[in-house]
């Protein structure tokens, strides 16, 4: 049985491996190669150099990178605080309502993110849903909160909420009720239960939520473009510009490599910590 299993396993993985090799690993290899080509060339048959990385370091592109990572980090932390109570409710308090929330949140993922962000523009703009009706009913008005750094963070929080919520709920559901009860019986305050029982025992879920959200937010572009009106240029936007308008593939590739290495390290670190068999099925 064992021999058959190992043969079938290898065979069954082939279609997926074929797709990933042809359309994921190979293109990334090409990006890596292009990143060490001289600037403004369109083939990999040139003498390699690190000019593109030098441009990254000297032309202020690191500023986009820092902004991107900073906003991603702030948004992720806000998401953690927002999602924790709901995740707790889903894991421990709600019964059927958990299913309702799960379906509602998953359904929202099926709506193209640019439609949802556009909806926020309509909601928040001057003469939008909020300001328009406020002015109509009370005569008061406020400046549109669009087109600045804060609204980009808001957009990231909005779009990536599910990616924090579900891992957190999964993490909290792994905290045994007995442990919390015992702590309460021994006189622990709510705060002590939270910091000494809930947070440490839900740590795997918290970590996955943090990493997943951070990684996705670091590669995000639509929030900055649609809501932020390019108040801040994010790194993904720089990459796109270099590849398209800039016609500078080496620079685009080098910027991609910096982002990929950063995100890849975090993602691989996070993924390596997850025991998929335990989370998804039999432990």
């Amino acid at each position: 049985m064992k021999r058959l299993d190992s043969k079938l396993g290898a065979l069954a993985s082939l279609p997926m491996l074929a797709v990933l090799t042809i359309a994921f690993i190979a293109p990334l290899g090409l990006v890596a190669l292009f990143s060490i080509m001289p600037e403004k060339v369109f083939s990999i048959f040139n003498v390699p150099n690190f000019a593109a990385y030098k441009t990254f370091a000297t032309q202020g592109y690191y500023r986009s990178l820092l902004w991107t990572l900073g906003m991603a980090f702030v948004a992720t932390t806000i998401l953690f605080v927002i999602c924790w109570p709901l995740a707790y409710g889903m894991a421990k308090v709600f019964k059927r309502f958990t299913l309702v929330i799960t379906i509602a949140v998953v359904m929202s993922l099926f709506v193209s993110e640019n439609i949802r962000l556009f909806g926020w523009v309509l909601t928040l703009m001057k003469g939008g849903l909020f300001e328009g009706y406020l002015r109509h009913w009370t005569g008061l008005s406020f400046e549109s909160p669009l087109y600045n750094v804060g609204i980009i963070v808001f957009g990231i929080v909005y779009v990536y909420l599910p990616f924090m919520l579900f891992p957190l709920a999964q993490g909290i559901s792994m905290v045994p009720e007995d442990a919390r009860q015992a702590a309460r019986d021994l006189g622990a305050t709510r705060w002590q239960v939270l910091t000494q029982i809930d947070l440490p025992l839900a740590a795997p879920g918290i970590m996955v939520g943090y990493l997943l959200t951070f990684v996705l937010a670091a590669g995000a572009m639509a929030e900055a473009k649609i809501l932020g009106g390019r108040a801040v240029i994010v790194i993904a936007d720089d990459i796109q510009t270099a590849f398209t308008y800039g016609q500078n593939w080496s620079l685009g590739a080098a910027l991609s490599m910096v982002l990929i290495l950063l995100i890849g390290t975090l993602a691989i670190f996070g993924i390596a910590k997850i025991d998929l068999d335990k989370i998804m099925g039999r432990g």
Binding site: S6, S13, M16, F24, P27, V93, S112, I115
Partner: protein
Amino acid sequence: MGPSRTTRIALYVYGIAIIAFLYLPLVSVTFASISKARYLSFPIRRYSTGWFTDALASREVHMLAITSLKIAVIVTILSVIIAFFGALAFARYQWRYRSLFQKLVLLPIFFPQTVLGLALLMWFNSLGIIPSWKTAIVAHLVWIAPIATLIVAIRAYSFDPALEEAARDMGATTTVVLREITLPLLMPGLVAAGLFAFLLSWGNFPLSLFTTGADSTLPEWLYAKMVSGYSPLVPTLGILSVIASFLLVLVAITGFWLYRALRPQN
């Protein structure tokens, strides 16, 4: 003893508030889609369904919908096939590189889609392939096939390998076991994966943006109009696309419910 009554009520209210927060922008889009004015401004003075008629009659919109649909249907079929085998390698068979395979499958999901789209654009260019809706299928597959695999894998974890072994002991070949035992057992997972694959492909924007070449999908067109040259058709088409997705989910859930209700009890 669980949390107090007040805490429970507060949590329910909080849950409803979060859902409202998630759907509020769609409320604005819906209002905008039935506003009569060419340049939108709230409060809306006159309502009209004229933009819907315009959108449904427009040839350009038909083209966009057909391109999106072609991509989504093919991505769905291919994803389900890949996910069927992928999930078995992921969850069912104990083989040497299973853990490595699991991690490899997760990587594209964590990967920034914009960068993946651009990398694929460069890759296609270097291979001399001109991007079109067909190359977008490949791009969507890289991201959607792993997600479909995870969904089928959840199902694959829960079934008892003894069923397959029994069939094999009675002389069934591997192909027969796959067709007669494994496939029916995984069916609910495959249907769910297909539904996810279709909807995620239909709504995808960052991958399509760089890989469709001269063709354009609905989300791409909407984005182009959002950033330059607003058209009153944007909210209308946006909401139509959302309605189409939700109808599909509704049909799927009803179908599932009917199947459960009408299935002969044994």
